[in-house]
Symmetry: C2
Subunit: 457 residues, 2 copies
């Protein structure tokens, strides 16, 4: 019945989305603060109208967070926490848009507007699924909680603290995030693993000040050279990280998982053409998508020392430094990896220089949901019904700290159930959301709530 409701109201839902897309809720720009607020109020009003029983626009030190809940399924039913964001990236026609970014139009089967895919359209699909369930005095098979923030495009600055401060309110059985894309329109994909990150700076100090390389060169250990000598010992010749203990907590890839990952793997030649490097590099016993998704790394994000302007200067620098970050996979912990790398670097430091290692952030752990867990199985069923095709499973190399927050602070499995396409133009000009994917997204969200509600979670 809910699905028929969606079919009957899809044109109205799209018209409503157009209204939301007209609000330029650009979180990066102070001149749009009122617009950001207006978008929050618009969504809160819609959430109230569809029958959510508690709807609040909760203040933060930045843009507000919308919280909405419907707990009518009862204390014994499962609860789904839906995360999304109502803020958008900046956009101006002059950036290469063919139409005004905040005047949505439908063209060639897609809705063109800033935020159509990232993330208004995707989070709105969930709201419309909830509407379909609650319409005409209906019931949802699961309790529903919406957490929709207004600062995702500025780094979710206040979300972590908000989650920590509202653990009880946000308690749920599963968190679903629809804020990503799939490789092709007919092949749904679920990201079940994200890498964490931890960063540090390595400073190498030699002489008290920059020296004349003629007068002193040959008798002073050059800090740039000493740093290079340390960096060169951080990897083994096979591309693996040479830090003792680095791989201790890495979950091994099972053959089942490797087979699953192969289904969505990009062809190596296509990947290499995108990258533009002479050859791939790294651990030969792992495929490229495994190296970038399922294996941890140690990367030199930056390094510098001495004279780096145009020309030449006969200087023996007093200092050199490198910024290093490690991408982490389950079950590595940022603080443990930081300690291992730091210990190794300090062990490598020769007595001819002074070496310091300073953390650059507290880091963020990897996110990982086992494909065999009920929540994942529910998402497979939802896609199979909503898309008519079983989803493929992927691991992504980047980090989404908010996923880690949900996982670590709330202890929730997080399902990254994207309804967009990778080439939707999020953050670029002519962002769009395929209308058919908006429709399928609503149905898929419904199927997901139903699958979770059947106690499969």
């Amino acid at each position: 019945m809910s699905h028929e409701f969606v079919t009957a109201h899809i044109d109205h839902f799209r018209a409503q989305l157009f209204d939301l897309l007209r609000i330029p809720s650009v979180s990066t720009s102070p001149q749009h603060t009122a617009d950001v607020r207006r978008a929050a109020e618009w969504l809160a009003a819609d959430l109230r109208r569809i029958g959510m029983t508690r709807v609040e626009i909760m203040p933060t030190e930045g843009h507000p967070i919308i919280y909405a809940e419907w707990l009518g399924a009862g204390t014994h039913a499962k609860t789904v926490l839906i995360y999304g964001h109502y803020d958008v990236q900046p956009a101006a026609k002059a950036d290469g848009w063919h139409t005004e970014p905040f005047e949505p139009i439908e063209k060639d089967g897609a809705i063109y507007a800033r935020g159509s895919s990232d993330d208004k359209g995707q989070v709105f699909a969930h709201i419309k699924a909830a509407e379909a369930l609650l319409a005409n005095g209906g019931q949802s098979p699961v309790n529903l909680k919406f957490l929709i923030e207004g600062e995702e495009e500025v780094g979710s600055t206040h979300l972590g603290d908000f989650i920590t401060a509202n653990r009880e309110m946000l308690r749920a059985d599963v968190c679903v995030i629809s804020d990503s894309g799939m490789p092709t329109a007919d092949q749904p994909a679920i990201v079940y693993g994200l890498r964490g990150i931890v960063g540090m700076q390595v400073d190498v100090y030699g002489p008290a000040q920059d020296l004349h390389s003629g007068t002193y060169g040959g008798a002073v250990h050059n800090p740039a050279q000493a740093l290079a000598e340390i960096i060169a010992k951080l990897h083994n010749p096979d591309g693996s990280v040479a830090v003792p203990g680095f791989y201790d907590d890495v979950l091994p890839l099972s053959e089942t998982e490797r087979a699953e990952l192969r289904q969505s793997a990009l062809d190596e030649a296509i990947w290499l053409a995108q990258v533009g490097a002479p050859q791939p590099w790294g651990e030969a016993q792992y495929a490229i998508h495994e190296r970038t998704g399922a294996r941890p790394t140690l990367e030199i994000n930056g390094m510098a020392g001495g004279f780096i302007e145009t020309g030449m200067k006969g200087v023996l620098p007093a200092r050199a430094f490198a910024k290093i970050s490690c991408r982490l996979v389950a079950d590595q912990q940022p603080d443990r990896i930081l300690q291992h790398v730091r210990d190794h670097i300090l062990n490598l430091a020769p007595p001819t220089v002074r070496v310091e290692v300073t953390p650059l952030s507290s880091g963020s752990g990897p996110a990982f949901v086992d494909i065999q867990t009920p929540a994942m199985q529910a998402s497979i069923e939802a896609y199979a019904q909503g898309w008519g095709k079983r989803p493929v499973f992927m691991r992504e190399g980047g980090s989404i700290p908010v996923v880690t927050d949900f996982q670590q602070e709330l202890g929730l499995p997080v399902i990254l159930m994207g309804f967009g396409l990778n080439n939707d133009g999020a953050h670029g000009p002519n962002e769009h959301f395929v209308t058919e994917m908006f429709r399928k997204g609503i149905h898929t969200a419904l199927y997901f709530y139903e699958a979770v509600g059947k106690g499969r979670n």
Copy 2:
């Protein structure tokens, strides 16, 4: 008789030097162009007055060069080429001078003025020695050629071309330069070796543009890491340079030479306190003064890649580079060393990145005059008579391109016969020239001409 002439006229010589020091011939400053010219004219007039037979102010594209000669000793006699400069560093009382820098005064036995030591006072000592020889229809035992430039403080921009264009005119048997200091007033010192230099840039290219270190990290060879891995292979664990062929042309240090060098060696603890590094570094079988003076080096003058601002950025950089220079000792040649280092780096380059090595200059060869050569022996005799003490011999780690020019373009042994003190304040405030060293310098120059003239050259 010439020495008595010096003794009789020393007060007058000093008064003349004061006149020269009053001219603010600051070559770096366009507003002093006329003053620079005036200093050249003043010196040319004095050179004519003392009896030099050909005196010319020869134009360059910058400040003019003074050339003067007296060839009365005849074609079978030796010829001494005296190099000096009449331009000075900028100076203003506000920089910390106790007196006006261009109003010379004598105080506590020293002449205070900009240029008193560097180099007007020292080159003028040679002119006064020539005057003493030629006075009253006298003869010099050697032919004399003066080459006094006005651009030493701006890098001798036009001197190299001038020398090349005037090889015949400048032909001589020995070149003497008095433009340096000795460690203490009673211990004359001769620098008989200077290191040459050759520089290059190493660029390491990886992906076509900076990549997200999460999305791509683990499958792309990071150019900063690849550069560090190359740099780490440029030295052996014992501190020597690991480039094949690097030491092929290095003249070995004889035990005699090592004993000679030890006489002026700085105590290691004092040296280390000056440097401020935790420990000395380098080839253990050589003393510190040998490592910096008599051994070649390969130095990282600068290196950079990726994100080097404050904070952290998850970037896998597209490029990293290093600026490398080698200090050379006799008989290493800049072009050969460049080739050796370049070949080695390109051999080390892995196929996962693209490496380019670009020369940063044509380099300059090392300068070296064997202590046993007659010109050196003449200078020993001159100091022994003029200073009452045998000079010590030193090798300096820096490079003075003009010395290389004289040596390579004119094929001359170059004697660096400083009359100043290391702490004369050249380039700083309160530059001064100890009056007694001005007087001894004139006598020592005379003894030198006499020693060369006795056919010891």
